[in-house]
């Protein structure tokens, strides 16, 4: 077991105890599922069902559109009520298939269990794509693309990212504890497809109990367990790669450029279903927590379940003032509770009015805390300052585009300056300018 980390980073309060050791439950079906066609990075799927059509559980309701795209499935059996624009977690209203569950929850077809050993890589990749598996840590990048590096790039190390550095969120931990066999099989699938010689499971040192449970199984399979100090953003791709392998992903490069593949725990578990049973990804583990949630817990939630339903199921202490999808460091605040859970949604957090008082914004003290905290070794205060003045050239010169938006700088800023927001704006503006010229 290695114990390494990365330079920089912060220590936000964990808040994980509320949900970490409670077994997950199955979330009851909502009266209406909203299944957006855009649930992954890349081209949105194209709806292939019409209003009034009956669909079975797991039936494809949206066909992929291009290579970097995956299909979308019905999360349960029922009636397609409409195909229309609905609020999407990204903030816009985007096309979605609206499904009224019939309560029978019958699969559209029988799925047979099959050993992956007899399958070719191509078949496995095809099944992964058909199952709509995407990165479930939040990025939602289609997994079949990530597993199929372009010619000339070889993967020698595969890392299963079980570092859940976002406060409150414990979904990955529950997956690891409750679906251990699926994860372990997924690991083997991952190794077979990628051809990696070294396999690692990366955990933070607040998860040593999980590590102890996994250790014998991992040893048997030759998988290493890397324990890293609990530090944010230890789970960010570049940071976990550096901590485990010591390799630095080039600024404009991808993990495959240094021969590494990183997959989230949930994704690895989903791989097993996709490859050995050809079952689509229609359910995921979601942490429902936050100070406003009366009975915080992990739920196994059908994709497309509206947030309002989840919060009602877990109960709110008082009317929520702020609701986040994802963790508090990188998640997005929602303006409506009608938004559904997506494949990449790891948590739903609700806050009361008194929990969200933002610190008063003052002027920069030049204390350098943001610089010390930045895991990418940037100068956040400079970039943000230039962004506010629209000095895009200077922002670019100070490597604004390398920012991973982890939020460490804003978290530590004693003056309460929304640094990430400024930098994010600069990144967007720089990209837009590049495209236009």
């Amino acid at each position: 077991m290695k114990r390494r980390s990365f330079p920089g980073g912060t220590h936000p309060p964990q808040h994980k105890s509320a949900t970490a050791d409670t077994p997950s439950e199955i979330c009851p079906l909502p009266p209406e599922l909203v299944i957006p066609l855009a649930q992954h990075v890349g081209a949105p799927a194209v709806a292939c069902v019409n209003a009034g059509q009956r669909v079975g559980r797991g039936q494809v309701v949206g066909k992929p559109n291009g290579f970097v795209s995956v299909p979308v499935h019905a999360s349960t059996s029922g009636l397609v009520v409409a195909v229309e624009s609905r609020p999407h977690p990204c903030g816009a209203e985007l096309p979605a298939v609206i499904l009224q569950p019939d309560g029978d929850d019958v699969w559209a077809e029988e799925y047979l269990t099959q050993s992956f050993h007899v399958l070719t890589t191509e078949t496995m990749l095809e099944r992964i794509r058909e199952a709509g598996v995407v990165g479930m840590g939040g990025a939602a990048f289609p997994t079949h693309v990530k597993l199929d590096p372009p010619h000339g790039k070889t993967i020698d190390t595969a890392i299963v990212n079980a570092v859940e550095c976002e406060p409150w969120v414990t979904a990955d931990r529950r997956v690891l504890l409750e679906q251990r066999d699926k994860v372990l099989t997924g690991l083997e699938v991952l190794q077979k497809i990628s051809g990696a010689r070294q396999m690692w499971i990366g955990l933070e040192d607040n998860q040593t109990d999980v590590a102890a449970l996994l250790a014998p199984h991992c040893k048997q399979r030759g998988v290493g367990i890397a324990i890293m100090p609990a530090k944010y953003p230890q789970g960010a791709e570049r940071q976990i790669i550096y901590a485990i392998t010591g390799r630095r992903v080039p600024t404009r490069g991808l993990p495959m450029d240094v021969g590494v593949l990183v997959q989230n725990v949930g994704t690895v578990a989903a791989l097993t279903d996709a490859v050995t049973r050809a079952r689509p990804l229609i359910e995921r583990m979601v942490t429902i927590s936050g100070p406003d949630v009366a009975r915080p817990r992990n739920l196994r939630v059908r994709i497309g379940t509206p947030v309002a339903h989840l919060l009602k199921h877990c109960g709110l202490r008082e009317e929520a003032a702020k609701v986040l999808l994802g963790g508090p460091m990188m998640g997005t605040a929602q303006h409506t509770l009608a938004v559904p859970v997506l494949r990449g949604t790891s948590g739903v957090l609700a806050f009361r009015r008194q929990d969200i008082t933002a610190p008063a914004v003052g002027s920069c003290l030049r204390c350098g805390r943001c610089v010390a905290a930045c895991p990418m070794h940037l100068l956040p205060t400079f970039i943000a300052d230039y962004a506010r003045r629209d000095a895009l050239d200077l922002a670019e010169r100070f490597a604004a585009r390398n920012c991973i938006e982890c939020g460490s700088c804003s978290f530590v800023c004693p003056a309460g300056i929304p640094l990430v927001q400024s930098i994010r704006y600069a990144k967007g503006a720089i990209l837009a300018r590049r495209r236009s010229t």
Binding site: P167, P250, K322, M329, G362, S363, L365, L378, P414
Partner: protein, 334 residues
């Protein structure tokens, strides 16, 4: 149709904050300075208390007045004016007249800080600006020191020389060190010497500095590189000629080095942002301090050297930019 139903709050990520705020940091600094305050009052009696109170309150009052007059948001509650006031007091002779303390606080707040736009914008350490201006304007009063009289609050002040000025005078006259500068004056640790109000007790200052380091208000880079440079350079001279140059312990404990290295040079606003920048900055401070102490016409060089490095801070920040994670050594910034 009414549009005023309660809405959800949407803000950019991250949605958490560390809880360490500007006022929190300033409060920590004030706490860290308290031991030295008590020692000062214990050693120099009521006059020291008077200087401390005048400086803190007039600094806060000046800040409020100025911000009211220029129509800005009044930010006195962030505590930065109080910190500046305390540091001004620490840099004055303990028996300073009331008007000197008042003037010092005024200079620090107005000329040192507010004319540049307030907290976070001043290029020079406000307390040092005030000290240097006063030193140049009132050289006699600013070098009129009184000897410490522990526990005798109402005693009349007894004039004394600071170890550094005594050293300078003796060296100029005789070409060799005075008695007190040849040994290892550990008595200075507790403040048994004449000097500025806040600089005399190295122990009290060190105590507060450890607190600041523990609370992570300051980082180790500047104190370590500053003191390290002073120790290395002064040892070098001491080895060359122990009868002419004092030993490093004397350098460390006499004068304002401790105060400077832990509280003045580490001023967040006027020191560099990056670790490497801070190291360079500290080395520069150390170099100039030793040079001015040994060869300059001012006996003490801490204030000047920090001001000089303050001036160099924008350049350090500009040219010592850290290499982004994953950027090649040769790549540099595009």
């Amino acid at each position: 149709m009414e549009f005023s139903k309660p809405l959800l709050t949407v803000s950019p990520s991250p949605h958490l904050h560390s809880g360490m705020t500007t006022s929190g940091m300033m409060g920590t600094v004030i706490l860290a300075l308290l031991p030295a305050c008590f020692v000062a009052v214990y050693l120099f009696g009521l006059p020291a208390l008077q200087v401390l109170l005048i400086c803190v309150f007039s600094a806060a009052a000046m800040e409020v007045l100025w911000q009211k007059a220029t129509g800005r948001r009044v930010t006195v509650t962030d505590g930065s004016a109080a910190v500046t006031g305390l540091l001004v007091a620490f840099n004055l002779p303990p028996s300073s007249p009331w008007w000197l303390a008042l003037l010092g606080a005024l200079l620090a707040i107005v000329v040192g800080k507010q004319v540049f736009g307030g907290l976070g914008h001043n290029p020079f350490n406000p307390a040092l600006v005030s000290r240097i201006v006063l030193l140049v304007s009132f050289p006699t009063i600013m070098t009129h020191w009184s000897a410490p009289q522990p526990g005798r609050f109402f005693a009349d002040a007894v004039t004394a020389a600071t170890p550094l000025s005594e050293m300078q005078t003796t060296v100029t006259l005789t070409g060799s060190l005075p008695q007190n500068a040849t040994g290892f004056p550990t008595g200075y640790l507790l403040g048994n010497m004449a000097g500025c109000l806040g600089e005399v007790s190295a122990l009290a200052l060190l105590f507060g500095a450890l607190f600041l380091l523990w609370r992570r208000v300051i980082s180790w880079h500047i104190p370590v590189s500053y003191l390290g440079t002073v120790i290395i350079l002064s040892s070098l001279f001491w080895v060359i000629d122990p009868s002419r140059y004092p030993n490093p312990v004397f350098h460390l404990l006499s004068g304002g080095l401790m105060l400077g290295a832990f509280y003045m040079a580490t001023d967040l606003v006027t020191s560099p942002l990056t670790g490497r920048g801070m190291l360079l900055y500290g080395c520069g401070c150390g170099l100039f301090t030793v040079l001015i102490r040994l060869f300059g016409s001012y006996p003490e060089g801490v204030a000047f050297s920090i001001l000089l490095m303050n001036a160099a801070t924008p350049l350090i920040d500009r040219y010592l930019v850290p290499r982004p994670f994953g950027m090649s050594r040769t790549g540099g910034l595009p």
